[in-house]
Symmetry: C2
Subunit: 110 residues, 2 copies
DNA sequence: TTTTTATATTGCAATATTACGATATAGATT
DNA sequence: AATCTATATCGTAATATTGCAATATAAAAA
């Protein structure tokens, strides 16, 4: 017990859950919003921006990268981070479908 | 240590993180997808649909409800669940903003 | 080459999540 | 009233997440 039963759900459901889970923390939302504002930045910029230590920021960046929501390219000494559009495109597809469903049956609830 | 430092982030960031976090589990994605398909249902229907026990499903429903993604109305003996559009509207606003940002600077990355 | 700069990783403590059996609650049925 | 049906809650074990100090790594600058 304790571990998520990923085996019992579809690949699509698991993939989407990984993406939304990665966004399920205010620090990671803040990182995404910052990246949208500045386009590209290095880890140190985010450490200066957020009230978190360097290891903690590094860990959040790793999770966002693993989920496919950001990219990181080595640039000499530092690592340049930016938004990965692939991940956001997948999320968009899901929420677009939800919107279609919701518009079809407005207020049709119990 | 261990607890999320919600105090250090904006209300918007925390609110959005609560919504995305609630969707960050395949069982809860599956519940949302099922509700979109059948419009309304009771807890027992979901228990029959998912490979999870009744208490576990009940717990997931509680989290979705607390996040503002579903609603539950007492209907005699049972409880009728359905999508809460308020929560999804909030998520939509965020992702629409992201889309605008991303379109403005396509492939402008490091 | 030593030092500085920038990130990642390790190790660990605190806390949160996931899952379910057992049990409680509450309305419907007999 | 006793029973059935539907759901929630409690208690608990297993696992995952969050956060950071200490340390490792690796390229740049002195």
């Amino acid at each position: 017990m304790g571990a998520t039963k990923s085996d019992h759900f579809t690949e699509k459901q698991n993939e989407l859950a990984i993406l939304t889970k990665a966004l399920g923390h205010p620090a990671r939302i803040a990182i995404i919003e910052y990246l949208l504002k500045v386009n590209t930045c290095i880890c140190g910029d985010i450490v200066n921006e957020l009230p978190l230590s360097q290891p903690t920021v590094s860990q959040h960046l790793k999770e966002l990268k693993n989920a496919g929501l950001i990219k990181g390219n080595i640039e000499g000494n530092a690592i340049c981070y930016c938004i990965n559009e692939v991940g956001f495109e997948k999320i968009k597809v899901f929420f677009t479908q939800i919107d279609l469903h919701l518009e079809k049956r407005k207020n049709e609830c119990c």
